[in-house]
């Protein structure tokens, strides 16, 4: 049992090297994309917003999944509890990385333009909500809530590792209940502020739910990939069994279906109503070159992962599952591209080199921070009240060979 309480750094020495390499890659990417900032500020900000929302989605999705697991329990969560915590602890960095959006908001959001608002009755009506100071105050509140949740959950979890105090589990549960409520509300309004208001006339009440679903899916895909990687190294190679992947695969399947369900519901309702202010959002996406992106989403954000994840074999085969997970992360980026980019290029599809470089850059930086956070703590929460019932039998017996079905 002693080796289970070693920190990740001691168990997997190569983590430090990966962190360094990722940081260098992130630095190079940042230098290259800064060049883009000089050519086209607007394009830079637009691509940055997309890359940022993906990384934020993984971070917050992990935070939310962690809180869900505190409340629901289940063996699926025990083995990914530590990656979840590490991802949530990237939040302070994500807070800093929001600054370019805050500084660039005048170029991103049309409603910041006083001339435009002066000639638009609808925007004048919305000015009470869509104005620069209130936007910044709201953003500050969101980050305060998210950082607060992440801070306390992680601090208590660290204390649990040290003291094995059973009351901490109850305290974490209690915070998670209110925390999920706070997450749901903040992310809804954050998605209205940061994404929906890119087209300030358009509105959709399901938008927040759609973003929540997307964040959950991003986080699950990331965690699946992380678990596959960790399961090949000590100490998780003795712990993780195909059933863990099966559970994660099922959860990904559920979220793929949820995403499709939310997206289709929004489309069907707006398509049927066909009201000018609502349908315009789809018109410049579906009657221009952007249509190709829409079709890509139907095929690769829904059909392909859905069909693959239906198969029991695929969910229990880590080599295959990791490919699905990485594919899902890529289509998550394409989905954000679909939400953001057409607002800036209404006449037809346009892909900038920054749309590729910035996600890679932010992704590398994020991953480096994640690894840094992962290294400091053990990879398993041995004092979690559920640890024994979830993994006790596997540890006693020694995990069966992973190829077994």
């Amino acid at each position: 049992m002693t080796s289970l309480t070693n920190t990740a750094d001691a168990a997997i020495p190569e983590l430090a090297g990966h962190q360094r390499r990722l940081l260098i890659a992130g630095g190079v990417g940042a230098a290259v994309s800064l060049a883009g900032l000089f050519f086209d500020v607007r394009q830079f900000l637009q691509s940055y917003l997309m890359a940022y929302m993906l990384c934020l989605g993984v971070t917050l999705g992990c935070l939310a999944l962690g809180m869900v697991h505190q409340l629901s329990g289940g063996a699926w969560g025990v083995v990914i509890r530590r990656p979840i915590g590490a991802a949530a602890r990237v939040l302070p960095v994500m807070t800093l990385l929001f600054l370019p959006i805050a500084f660039g908001m005048n170029r991103l959001y049309g409603w910041t333009n006083a001339d435009l608002v002066a000639h638009d009755e609808a925007l004048q009506h919305k000015h009470l909500y869509l104005n620069t100071p209130f936007f910044l105050v709201r953003a500050a509140v969101y980050f305060l809530v998210w950082n607060g949740l992440s801070y306390f959950l992680n601090a208590w979890s660290l204390e649990q590792d040290r003291t094995a105090e059973p009351r901490l589990a109850r305290r974490m549960q209690r915070l998670s209940g209110g925390g999920l409520l706070a997450y749901g509300l903040t992310i809804t309004f954050a998605s209205f502020d940061w994404l929906m208001s890119l087209e300030p006339h358009w509105f959709s009440t399901i938008y927040g739910v759609l973003i929540v679903g997307g964040q959950g899916l991003s986080a699950l895909a990331f965690l699946t990939a992380a678990l596959v990687w960790l399961s090949r190294r000590p100490p998780l190679n003795r712990i993780v069994v195909p059933a863990h992947f099966h559970d994660l695969g099922n959860l990904m399947l559920a979220f793929v279906m949820l995403w499709a369900y939310f997206s289709f519901s929004q489309y069907l309702i707006i398509w049927s109503g066909n009201l000018p202010v609502e349908i315009s959002w789809y018109l410049h996406r579906l009657q221009t070159g952007w249509r190709a992106v829409g079709l890509t989403l139907i095929l690769f954000h829904f059909s392909a992962p859905f069909v693959v994840l239906l198969s029991r074999r695929a969910k229990r085969e880590p080599d295959l599952l990791v490919k699905v997970a990485i594919g899902i992360l890529i289509v998550r980026l394409i989905d954000l591209f679909w939400l953001i980019a057409p607002e800036f290029h209404q006449n037809g599809i346009f892909v900038s080199w920054l749309d590729v470089v910035l996600p890679l850059t932010l992704g590398s930086i994020w991953l480096a921070c994640f690894i840094r956070q992962l290294r400091g703590r053990p990879l398993l929460p041995v004092h979690d009240p559920e640890f024994e019932s979830a993994l006790g039998r596997i540890i006693e017996r020694g995990a069966p060979p992973r190829t077994a079905h």
């Binding site: 289709f264 489309y267 069907l268 398509w271 049927s272 066909n274």
Partner: protein, 179 residues
């Protein structure tokens, strides 16, 4: 005019789950292949112990679901776009978004029907008569007793030898099952 009734097999009765699973494993290991175990609730290991393989049911359900999916869509396309074209709200005759809900429902309906009918068919149910019911104590198979039956058609079956073998498994009792 009661002659000796033909034999269906020999049935051993057990008190608990573990004995039945062990007995099934032993009987299979002994080389018996025509055998079945009866229990008042599903036991995952039992099925493996009897050496049977995966069921074809998921495939049947998949095919059923696909038929429902295509059938549901075709029904709507045919009636809305071909047989009875009507201009509704200026929407195109072939309006795929509006066809999704019914297509989905048809998929689920056909798949669910295939699951239930497929399960019953593969299990050979309904079956009003089966020899195992001739053993009076078998009524407890739906309460709290566990039974292992080695059938007479098994090539290795021999009334005396098989009974002796079953007696070694610590059963509560061994009964002959009339056909």
């Amino acid at each position: 005019m009661k002659g000796p009734s033909p034999l269906y097999g020999l049935m051993a009765e057990f008190d608990d789950v573990s004995s039945l699973v062990l007995a099934a494993e032993r009987a299979y290991g002994e080389g018996y292949r025509c055998l079945d175990a009866y229990s008042p609730f599903p036991i995952e290991q039992l099925h493996e112990a009897l050496g049977s393989h995966h069921t074809r049911l998921p495939l049947i359900v998949l095919i059923g679901g696909l038929c429902g999916c295509l059938g549901g869509y075709a029904l709507q396309y045919w009636s809305s776009a071909l047989a009875y074209p009507l201009n509704i709200g200026g929407k195109p005759l072939h309006s795929w978004p509006a066809f999704i809900p019914v297509t989905f429902e048809c998929t689920i309906l056909a798949a669910a029907l295939s699951a239930v009918l497929g399960m019953l068919a593969l299990n050979g149910l309904p079956m009003p008569y089966h020899p195992v019911f001739n053993v009076p104590r078998f009524a407890l198979a739906s309460r709290n007793r566990f039974f292992l039956c080695i059938e007479a058609i098994d090539p290795k079956f021999d009334v005396e030898a098989t009974r002796r073998f079953l007696e070694t498994l610590n059963p509560r009792e061994v009964n002959t099952v009339a056909d």
